[in-house]
Symmetry: C2
Subunit: 443 residues, 2 copies
């Protein structure tokens, strides 16, 4: 080891929104502590923004701001990308990697859409690509999946990875609030955007599911591979039904291996589900996130924490920054080093994605039915016709309120869909009021 002080590393920051400002501020304010962690100083080389002249955090030297993002990338040893979205983020990250810079990004949308291109570019360049902040903000989940569990075999990942929908479902569950009111409260708290589509329809969770599945199973899964259902259909009646069977409703991201069907197949899906009130995921309240991992040897692990927010996201970005900076300082993680810890998972897309029809789980089905003798027999026959085995049936209400609540044993989504279609054709069934998956029963 050389006795000369190593040169400072130049950090280029792309984007200065809520997360970018927080990263910049902490980078400047904690410069001594960071230097101690890394072994050399991290110098903020510039902050690329769309327009200069806006009001910016006071602690930051106005001279740092530039609209020339490609120029900043070229003079940086490490590039932090917190612009979000596909372009210009992708182009700038590729420019950075091709130029031999390490990259830290929080961009879940881009990673879920096209991680392959980025990982390949990092591998070719021999540079680091870290993205812990892309899933569950500061909750360290990607690094444990790709490093701590690298000697194990992950079987299933079940996550609450969207704080907005968890806040809404938690409100509905604990206070009996309806969906619309709960959504308004989430917006008032700043947990939901004015246009809540990305959260409520499950797009955000699906992007994270794709990233989790890719790392957990050492393959490539993109957002388009993820079956997705949002929470708009979750009524207060569904929440009440869940409570009656000792469950709570959560929007889950479920990534699974399917060794029984095909050892070379995995799946990823996002949908509301009823989970037992005693499951560790059930106690995840408000806008918190948690990821439950089941691995062959490690057993059941859970990672829990705030899934969003400027400070937690900045924490994850800076943790990655310290790692890639250490690698560069010591000759790893930069051009030609051959070091491969930090390039995403270099595995090819070798595992098939099982279609949703083949996925096996349990279901909770509520049916509005005619209040007459023999209804149960007719309904039960329809389940039997599709080989869907019933675990419990409860008859509730009388007259026009008469309903049947059925909880099934494990069945494929295809068999269940066929059953539901069949039920809709039966004249004593007035309506299929709700169909909700029941998950995490064996934990």
């Amino acid at each position: 080891m050389s006795l000369a002080a190593p040169r400072a590393l130049r950090v280029g920051l792309l984007g200065c929104g809520v997360v970018g400002s927080e990263v910049a501020r902490r980078l400047v304010e904690n410069t001594d502590e960071l230097a101690e962690r890394v072994g050399t100083r991290l110098e903020l080389a510039g902050i690329a923004v769309r327009r200069t002249g806006r009001t910016r955090p006071q602690a930051l030297d106005p001279g740092l701001f530039t609209t020339d993002a490609p120029g900043l990338v070229k003079r940086s040893d490490v590039v932090i990308e917190v612009i979000g979205g596909i372009e210009p983020a992708r182009g700038l990250i590729l420019t950075a990697l091709e130029g031999g810079a390490s990259v830290v990004t929080a961009n879940k949308t881009l990673l879920a859409e096209d991680a392959g291109t980025l990982v390949d570019a990092a591998t070719t360049a021999g540079c680091d690509l870290y993205f812990e902040a892309a899933v569950a903000a500061a909750v360290p989940i990607l690094r444990p999946l790709r490093e701590s569990l690298a000697g194990d075999r992950v079987l299933r990942v079940t996550g609450i990875v969207n704080g907005t929908t968890n806040f809404i479902l938690d409100k509905m569950s604990t206070e009996g609030t309806g969906f619309a009111t709960a959504l308004q409260e989430a917006q008032a708290h700043g947990y939901a955007e004015a246009d809540p589509t990305a959260d409520v329809e499950g797009h955000d969770a699906a992007a994270k599911a794709a990233i989790l599945a890719s790392l957990a199973f050492h393959t490539r899964v993109v957002a388009g591979d993820v079956h997705r259902e949002g929470i708009r259909e979750v009524s207060t009646a569904v929440i009440t039904s869940a409570t009656q069977i000792g469950h709570v409703v959560k929007l889950l991201a479920v990534c699974e291996r399917h060794d029984d069907v095909d050892p070379a197949a995995v799946s990823a899906r996002v949908h509301p589900a009823m989970i037992p009130a005693g499951h560790p995921l059930a106690s995840v309240r408000g806008a918190y996130n948690a990821v439950f991992v089941e691995a062959e040897a490690a057993g059941r692990l859970m990672f829990y924490g705030p899934g969003a927010g400027a400070a937690p996201t900045a924490s994850a970005v800076l943790g990655d920054l310290v790692t890639v900076a250490r690698h560069r300082l010591h000759g790893a993680g930069s051009r030609g080093s051959g070091h491969n810890d930090g390039r995403g998972d270099p595995a090819p897309p070798r595992l098939a994605i099982l279609p949703i029809g083949a996925i096996v789980t349990r279901y909770h089905i509520a049916l509005a039915v005619a209040d007459r003798a023999g209804v149960l027999a007719v309904v039960a026959q329809e389940f039997a016709r599709h080989d869907v085995s019933i675990e419990t049936v409860r008859q509730e209400g009388r007259g026009t309120d008469a309903q049947l609540v059925v909880v099934t044993h494990r069945a494929t989504d295809a068999a269940l869909a066929a059953t539901v279609a069949g039920l809709r054709r039966i004249d004593v069934v007035r309506e299929v009021s709700s169909v909700v998956r029941v998950e995490a029963e064996d934990a």
Copy 2:
């Protein structure tokens, strides 16, 4: 990157008890998957045992066993130490590092006693030293602390890090079992040793607290620095009292910074404590472990999973093995590489350890008192005399069962100890029945 296939890495395994056997078995059975993760084959070079000729796991070639541990160390690229205890483990690890081998160990006792010597040796040799399995088995907690949170500032770590005592306290809490019966059940389940001292007296948790504090605060804390109280004094009355104030009793390892007293001081302590039933740590059941981390930017994180067992421990060891093997393959983490991710935290012991007397927390105190007017005034005066502010007092029972239950505001341990000594001198106080800290209130 070279096109020639890289040579296999020789792995020397020291110890073949429950954990060692499991590591060896998985190393042999999952050799293809591990090779894919690492980029080259991991070859089990030998297994050092005290005596050969014993019955060993069938999957293992008898020719692998040797009693010449130093010889095995010398011909290994990576050494896995799962012997436990101080010697010969320490000597063999030092020999390995001096010889340029990377080391993976699960040895909490040794790390809590003398991590400094090992970390210094690893730094001098430029070799990796990983030990995720030493705390909470497969729950990834050390890597998140030293890598994911490297750009943040950890303020407090509160852990349930001993499965045996958590099993016992959980039994007492949920089934009303006494301590002795709960301990017997733990022994019957294989969770507790025939001699349960290390668990019950908090030695095991204290070793883990020392390791957690060292990594969380980038300093050196040894087991002897950790204030330690076991769970033998936890009566069913204490458990019931906790329930009455909406709390549960857990054996906690608490590692804290004390910015208000001295920014250069930290503390580590292990003791039973009452925590609110709604706190994430309260729902950690049976022999599970969990570590709750509070960091400046990241906020509140929790890591949860099985804290012991052969398979979970082997998962953590193999995760570390994949990492150090990748580093070696790519020229980092081996002699002279200068790579420093994996040497424990290279920081010197720069932070002072605050003595227990200076630690501030809340207390739950039960007093058997004379059933007469004015008792409360006398008792309250004693608290006031030592500047310990009372939050609530509850009078219970009559006659010889009369008691006062006091919950204090935050006070130093020294002030509380003086108060308790004073209470013992008051004639209307027949007995100070219990003094239990109340923690995790602000979460």
